[in-house]
């Protein structure tokens, strides 16, 4: 008999901060009528890792997170936490901390009581409960707000309390369901860094669901892009951005130009330049090449292949839209001084830098 503490313990001491555990989701399937919310999703989380699931509305990312929490039933598939099959364990025995989109704090309890709720259920002594709750409120920067009620806290503060509440039970896994989407842009960026700091500090394995690519890239160790209930690609942020595996990933994450070209021998001819192809590209014939704006160069040239339509000055950098002679439009990222020089109508030459690109048939 191994004595793992995978269910709520009934010790009188508050649980110690949980180290990271490994999580494996294997071939999860869930459909509502004819819609497949999860269509064979498999995903592994390393101990202590923060993985973001990124995707458009309805791609199944929230269903995946709720399935891990035990709030959603699965048609088939296996959920393994710390090497144990927890597929059939009900939500309140899974010991997972969850932070919801918004409004999840119990309105009838103070911040301290909210944070202490999980410990109260575990019959932790009142004094220890209070100590631990205050400790966690301190951790999220709300040490002085312990006696406030949710309606007396701002949206950002409420989400901090929700994070503290989720962490108070020293969860095996931390689940974040778009915790920032209901907040103002400024608070969002601030809380984003805050969550990452706290997560590093406690080292809890974390699954984070978002539709905001910037959030995902900024916070996660690895980002999984989902579409139609399936994982398109999972990789560290830089790799995901620079070496997208599918057209969906290339276009969902960051900006992309679709430019026609021809592929031969692992290279593509695009706007007169031979560019190396990424793994998974179409390798021969006429292809569409997906090129990032920052891989496109624009230089004034009377004999060029296009004319500037609209420059955009963005402060630290600039973007220029150019209409090519074949009437297609490309977007290029340029230095900000260039954005002011390339006035509409300027004839320019557009070329592609030889960074690896994805080509599709």
């Amino acid at each position: 008999m191994t004595s793992r503490t995978d269910s709520p313990t009934t010790t009188s001491e508050p649980p110690a901060p949980g180290g990271g555990v490994e999580v494996r989701l294997v071939d999860l399937r869930r459909s509502y009528g004819s819609v497949h919310a999860l269509d064979g999703l498999s995903l592994d989380l390393e101990p202590g890792e923060l993985v973001a699931l990124l995707g458009p509305s309805g791609c199944g990312k929230t269903t995946a997170l709720r399935a891990l929490a035990g709030l959603e039933e699965l048609d088939s598939g296996t959920v393994m936490v710390d090497g144990k099959d927890t597929t059939r364990v009900s939500a309140h025995r899974r010991n997972m901390g969850m932070v919801f989109q918004a409004y999840s704090l119990f309105p009838n309890m103070t911040a301290r009581d909210n944070v202490g709720y999980g410990l109260r259920l575990r019959r932790t002594a009142a004094a220890a409960r209070r100590r631990r709750a205050d400790e966690l409120l301190e951790l999220v920067g709300l040490g002085t707000h312990a006696t406030r009620y949710p309606h007396q806290l701002s949206g950002g503060q409420q989400q901090r309390v929700a994070l503290a509440r989720a962490l108070a039970i020293a969860p095996q896994v931390l689940l974040l369901d778009e915790p920032l989407s209901a907040l103002d842009a400024k608070v969002r960026a601030q809380l984003r860094d805050e969550i990452r700091r706290v997560q590093r500090e406690v080292g809890t394995t974390t699954l984070f669901v978002t539709h905001d690519q910037e959030e995902a890239l900024a916070m996660a160790d690895r980002v999984g892009v989902m579409s139609a209930g399936q994982l398109q690609q999972i990789a560290p942020p830089a790799e995901l951005y620079e070496r997208p595996r599918t057209a969906f990933v290339a276009e969902f994450v960051g900006l992309t130009n679709r430019i026609p070209g021809t592929a031969t021998d692992g290279r593509a001819q695009v706007l007169g330049t031979a560019v190396p192809l990424l793994e998974g590209s179409a390798t021969s014939g006429s292809v569409t090449v997906l090129v990032r704006p920052e891989s496109i160069e624009v230089a004034p040239d009377e004999q060029g292949n296009g004319r500037v339509i609209a420059p955009t000055y963005l402060g630290s950098l600039g973007r220029v839209q150019v209409r090519l002679h074949d009437d297609s439009v490309v977007l290029a990222q340029v230095a900000s001084h260039q954005a002011t020089e390339l006035t509409p109508g300027t004839p320019v030459r557009v070329t592609v830098r030889p960074t690896p690109v994805l080509a599709i048939a």
Binding site: Y32, A37, G60, K61, S90, A102, D177, A182
Partner: protein
């Protein structure tokens, strides 16, 4: 998942137990009314009582009077409340609390109390306007104030009427045009529910009509109950059904509370924002 299923199961049983028990309590008297009103001589079924509805002149007259009364009350209520509430929203926000307090006041003044105070005033009303049941309109408008106020207030709260009216004014509308062309079309749903609540209240009102001695449908039904219970019960069933249908229709006219759920959230009603 086994545990989940079991608790769902027991909840399901409890839910339907409650629904069935309460449904029996609420439906039994209604079924009894149907049974009672279709009794014939010697244990047979007969529709005589139902046919009798149309043949009783007092009853028909009172139904006509009550329907007219309902229509007048709706008109009076709308004319009194819509311009006033719009005006207060736009120009005298300081009066909002006062108007709200007055409109909700009839909730704390039972009809039986109102009739005590209003009886002396009705001596004057009949002297000035005449001794018609339709004069009840005045006191019925007061009676429906709280319900109509809430409905219209909800409608006005749901649209930004300050911006709307400023936009209309900047395009050259007069105040009256703002009211008729901009405000009213935008709170049509609220006006419909305010009207329906008023109609139901007027058609069901007994206390004031009976104690001021006007023959509305409820007063006549009550008298009829002592003379020919069959007809009285038959009219009651018809009236209850009529009110029910009216309210179901209104429920379908109201805008849907939540949009069709997204595939990701089918199990749980979406909160404020759509999930992924």
């Amino acid at each position: 998942m086994a545990a989940v299923t079991r608790t769902r199961g027991s909840r399901w049983v409890l839910r339907w137990l409650v629904l069935v028990v309460v449904a029996i309590y609420l439906l039994l008297p209604l079924l009894a009314m149907v049974e009672f009103s279709t009794r014939g001589a010697g244990g047979t079924r007969s529709l005589d009582a139902w046919r009798g509805i149309g043949e009783d002149d007092d009853l028909v007259g009172s139904i006509v009077a009550s329907v007219e009364l309902a229509a007048l009350t709706v008109v009076g209520m709308l004319v009194l409340l819509v311009p006033t509430m719009t005006w207060v929203h736009l120009r005298v926000p300081a009066m909002r609390r006062v108007v709200e307090f007055i409109c909700l006041l009839p909730l704390t003044i039972p009809a039986i109390v109102l009739v005590v105070g209003v009886a002396p005033i009705y001596a004057w009303v009949t002297y000035l306007v005449g001794d018609s049941a339709l004069t009840l309109t005045f006191v019925y408008v007061v009676l429906v104030l709280p319900y109509a106020y809430r409905a219209i207030d909800g409608g006005l709260g749901a649209i930004d009427i300050v911006t709307l009216s400023e936009a209309a004014r900047s395009l050259g509308s007069s105040w009256f045009q703002v009211l008729v062309r901009v405000i009213i079309p935008n709170i049509r749903g609220a006006l419909i529910s305010a009207s329906v609540v008023s109609i139901a209240l007027v058609l069901g009102e007994f206390t004031i009509a009976s104690l001021l001695n006007f023959d509305t449908v409820q007063v006549v039904i009550n008298l009829l109950g002592k003379r020919n219970a069959g007809i009285a019960v038959a009219v009651s069933v018809a009236a209850l059904l009529f009110a029910f249908v009216l309210l179901v229709v209104v429920a379908y006219l109201e805008p849907r509370r939540r949009d069709a759920q997204e595939d990701d959230t089918t199990a749980v009603p979406a909160p404020q924002e759509a999930r992924s």
